[in-house]
Symmetry: C2
Subunit: 361 residues, 2 copies
């Protein structure tokens, strides 16, 4: 049977609890399909700082390097908020991981499950029947990483600066990811930029337009980022795949995720060239409810499903997980964050949700 | 009696129609208060391109220079969309105007009038009683204007780049604007940045924190831009004044404006040091309904009111305009964009809305 190596980085807050459920679902997948997942646990985020002195310890990097994929929980919490920004759990773990492993393609689905429309702060009429947007964010370029960047001068003469930069190949490869994803779903890509102001966006738009010609079956449109921030609120169903550079993707993917009303449901994938990838829930570490066993494990379980799909090519198993989650929701299983006290709903804890999903597999 | 000189730039689309109503309200103000407004009309945007060859003709700049304030309509439309970005009506008029006149402080209220909550795409329970957020956006710095910026290289070796830069004095002066505005309202400033990634944001946060000490009566909080994009959707009422650098303000002010559901209602002010300012509706030129006499003139009228308040110090007259608008809405007057077919509502056209506001003055 095939063997895949998974680096397991539970992190902080609810991370370990929801990770435990994802790993139990992984056990069920092992039993059902002829495959083995060799798991190695490693510290990251606040746990990394507390146990090994930094948010991304070298041992953790080494474990990730010898793995086929990273399953990431969540990081951060009040305990580490007073550290300098670049030593904090989120920033200090995520940015280096993205760079070291070349995780240039961030896939963030923003989906409202039809049975959960009530959780959105959008009106019923705006989201009737749910919506399903996939934000594809460039993750290793742009203003996050380009140089020069810094603060120069003394006192009131100081100047802070950053550089937003994109090369043609950087834009090309993320554009291919977006068009290939669109092919498998609504066949529409909306590329976001600020080409009326930014030179990097002018190049972005030109390159995206060129690549689009290789995908005549997919429709391309362009939208300015400020307008996109409005259109997501006005009528999210107009979007299929949204393609963004790094910072615009940071902002719009969070906006889109919040519009669904159920952050605890949303997975994400950060992919390198080849099959390596990192998979993590879109929500945060929710320190306020950590340790109580009541967190929603679905985002972590769906992230694990994305790992099976994108890193291990196990499309059937990934579909099975997606379907199991949908089924369990249809059955009315609800952790506290998605519980709406409607008839047919059953309040469950983290472990019971895991059990239900395993049973539904 | 006092005389103020106003440069009137109606622009394109619905601009001229709604401007006509704002000027009629200005006539009413002249009669009611001991003041004269000397108006000089000038071309801008598509009208500038068509009549004088560019979006911001020199004659227009000269007229603005010899005025005490600019009353701006709206620019843009399909006719000019194929021009290079920096020659287009919006980009080609607005960016030079901001730079030439040093309009560094952009004030964009996002207000839901209690009688218009139905227009928002947010749920009734999220916005019950309306909300009132003031976005204060730095408008002459950051990635919009800093150098270097451009595209270098040939073919696939090309690289596009922009520079985000802020100096201490630039951050200080916009921070003062935000705190002074907050003092007159909810006494809370939420400063937006991305200090976990951007060096310019690290400086931004530090300078804002320092200036805040001069305003012990105003509460300061900091929020990352991605989180702000989420929090606006989740619970807009948590905000009073939102302080942003240029690009984050572009994105968040549009998101906040759309959350109100009535873009046609929202004014904006762009202020220079001293009393000079430019005043314009937040919405666009709406070419689809231009020339039909059905556009909502309220944003233009409220923008004119902001001119009286900020450039001419006519606080009473500005309050009178705000109150007249509120009264007319309470009376049920509705242009098509805000008509909800509820009992007590009366559908009116652009001119009738102007009449009603003048009557209510
Ligand atoms: C923690 C931070 C550096 C990170 C980012 O901005 O990319 C986070 O917001 C995210 O979206 O994963
Ligand atoms: C037209 C464009 C350059 C402008 C901006 O980005 O500032 C517009 O979006 C605005 O917000 O006034």
């Amino acid at each position: 049977s095939q063997v895949f190596k998974v680096a397991v980085l539970p992190g902080d807050g609810i991370g370990p609890e929801v990770m435990a459920e994802a790993l139990r679902v992984l056990d069920a997948i092992e039993k059902k399909y002829d495959v083995k997942f060799e798991r190695t646990h490693a510290n990251v985020g606040g746990a990394g700082i507390d146990l090994e002195g930094k948010a991304l310890p070298e041992t953790t990097v080494a474990i990730c390097k010898s793995s086929d994929a990273i399953l990431f929980g969540s990081v951060g919490g009040p305990k580490w908020e007073t550290l300098p920004p670049d030593e904090q759990p989120e920033r200090g773990a995520l940015l280096p991981l993205r760079k070291i492993f070349g995780l240039y393609a961030n896939l963030r689905p923003a989906i409202i499950f039809p049975s959960l429309t009530g959780a959105s702060s959008l009106k019923e009429e705006v989201i009737a029947g749910g919506f399903n947007v996939l934000v594809i964010r460039e993750l290793t370029g742009g203003i996050y990483f380009a140089q020069p960047k810094g603060i120069e001068g003394e006192g009131r003469d100081r100047v802070g600066f950053d550089t937003m930069r994109y090369s043609v190949p950087e834009i090309e490869r993320i554009t291919h990811v977006a068009f290939q994803a669109a092919r498998k779903r609504g066949k529409r890509v909306c590329s976001i930029d600020k080409a009326n102001v930014l030179s990097s966006s002018v190049l972005w738009r030109e390159v995206v337009t060129g690549i689009a010609k290789e995908y005549p079956d997919v429709e391309l449109s362009h939208m300015y980022v400020d307008n996109a921030a409005m259109q997501l609120v006005r009528w999210p169903k107009q979007f299929d795949v949204i393609l963004c550079e790094n910072m615009f993707g940071d902002i719009l993917s969070d906006e889109a995720a919040m519009l669904t009303g159920s952050l605890g449901m949303l997975p994400s994938a950060s992919l390198a060239e080849g099959t390596f990838g990192m998979y993590e829930p879109s929500g945060g570490s929710a320190p306020d409810i950590a340790g109580q066993g009541i967190a929603n494990p679905i985002a972590q379980i769906l992230s694990m499903g994305m790992m099976l799909r994108f890193s291990f090519g196990m499309v059937d198993a990934a579909d099975a997980i997606d379907n199991a989650v949908a089924k369990v929701l249809d059955q009315g299983c609800r952790t506290r964050d998605i519980f709406q006290e409607k008839p047919g709903e059953k309040l469950v804890n983290t472990k019971e949700m895991g059990d239900a999903i395993i049973a539904a597999l």
